[in-house]
Amino acid sequence: GGNSGSSDESSESDGVLSVVAAYSSVIEEPWDGVIHEALQEMADAGEITYKYIDGIGYASGAFERAVRQIAEEDKPAIIMGDSFGNEEAARKVALDYPDIAFVMGSGGGPAEPNFSVFDNWIHEPAYVSGILAGSLTKTNIIGIVGGIPVPEVNRIVNAFIAGAQSVNPKVEAKVAFINSWFDPAAAKEAALSQISAGADIMFAERAGVIEAAAEKGLLSFGNQMDQKSIAPQSVVTSNVWNMRPTVKYILNQVKAGSYTSQDLKDFSMVAKGGALLAEINTGVTGGIPAEVVAKAEEAMAAIKAGTLRVDINEAVPAGSVTK
């Protein structure tokens, strides 16, 4: 990785904090892309200096080396990144550098004194996407292609299915996992096989699925980012994860000197603006009936108001899921 951002090298001159990120995957992969986007925006606004290293992967010792190098050589105020699959390494380094705030995407809990965790808690917008999908399907078969069936993926997929079945109990969801975080070609092939099995709406938990839906003239739902631009005629909406609230909160904490390790889950949920539903794209092929849009917006409002709670279900949703 490299970056643009401020040219200011020092760690804390005139209150500009330095943040260095370590990504296991590459920044074009949406999960890390969301974090990168938020940090880059802060850097462009002059609020932080930002550097990153990406594509570190899961080779033995690589992630720990990258994070240690950052801690040793850049001495930043904050190290962010995703420690999924490199959990042990990240936590070990954090213990050795108690003065640096470690803020990591993680499936585990926070660790004293300086290891905070966040995650993409976008099951709420996923539920609402599901409502749209359940209303729009004609074959009552929905195709879902996920990365690897880990709890954080499962809960999004399950929420999507629950949402669909809440408005249309006949919905059958076909779920396939490509067992990779980023393999658009495999994801597309899996999506095409679901389409051939009758799916007429596709949920693109991973990259590659929207392309399949677009090729077959079907509707699709994006994940992590607003992915409308990939295929404006196909993408109804996306479950968007927004890291800005998390980043802002952490910056304030560190600036104020009151940073402690914590679970930042709330900042990635709808209530605090960390999760949202992208603007519903009524321009897709065949359009979207107004009452369906209304239903979705109603559900979203209810979630914001706290009157609708979306269940968290982290069980593996395998094969075909019917109610």
Binding site: G1, F177, A197, E211, A318, G319
Partner: protein
Amino acid sequence: MIDVTEEIISSSLRIATPLALAALGELVTEKSGVLNLGVEGIMYGSAFVGIATAAQTGSLTAGLIAALVSGALAGLIFAFTTVTLGVNQHVAGLGMTLLMISLCNTANRIMFTADGGQVRVDPWQPLNFGGPIFSQYLLTYATFLVAVPFVWWLLWKSGLGLKIRAVGENPEAADVAGIGVAKTRYTAIIIGSLFMALAGAFITLAFVGTFTVNIINGRGWVALALVIFGRWTIGRLLIGAALFSLVNAGQLQLRLLPSFADVPFEILLALPFLAVIVGLAISGRNVPYPGAYLKPYKRL
């Protein structure tokens, strides 16, 4: 619901396209006595160069041409090191693969992904002649209707093919017959690289319309396996490609069934490699390697 078998066949053809193209390229190369382990890298390079050019010029055709040029260039470098210099073919091939992958990843970062974006083009769409089986990309039709007969004609019917085979079997004899061994091997390597480049371009320009790290994902190694599985004949090579693609497409369908949720499909994906090893073991001492396989030739 659409007929599943029909869809599996359709999907197999799609999966088989880059494999068959790359394997044909490797076949032409190996028939000249040269093992090109750079196949994975050449595919990677053309996949990237193809889409990068298409994105910059807005023309998929320009992308395809650029991909072919990149393939030819990579082939040229490989030919220079192995034919002219006589470097170990396996070392040069692995080097080529590592070079192309690291070069493209670096260029991709510099050109397209520095701010988290990704290169995208509107890819070629399948041409629909009715039914899922006949809804395929132009390149898929071209592969099976043009490239396969062409390579068959090239290797077994044309004068160049005769030269390639002679050079691969007995370079000394070919040399004495007045055939430029180096020239013929360069030609075979470059023709082979062009097919590998087509295979790479198919993945980005037709199939996914984007480029990501690890886009080739071992397809080059599968192509290599297919050539040996096919005992250096086109018919058997195609049978191998068909079997592998059917297994691959079939497992994607099987994954949809609840009872198969826990089946380790990785074993199925390992099949082509294992099939080659078993096949070699069964043929025993009768593996029809080209006579000059892996041997550099130098006149004194």
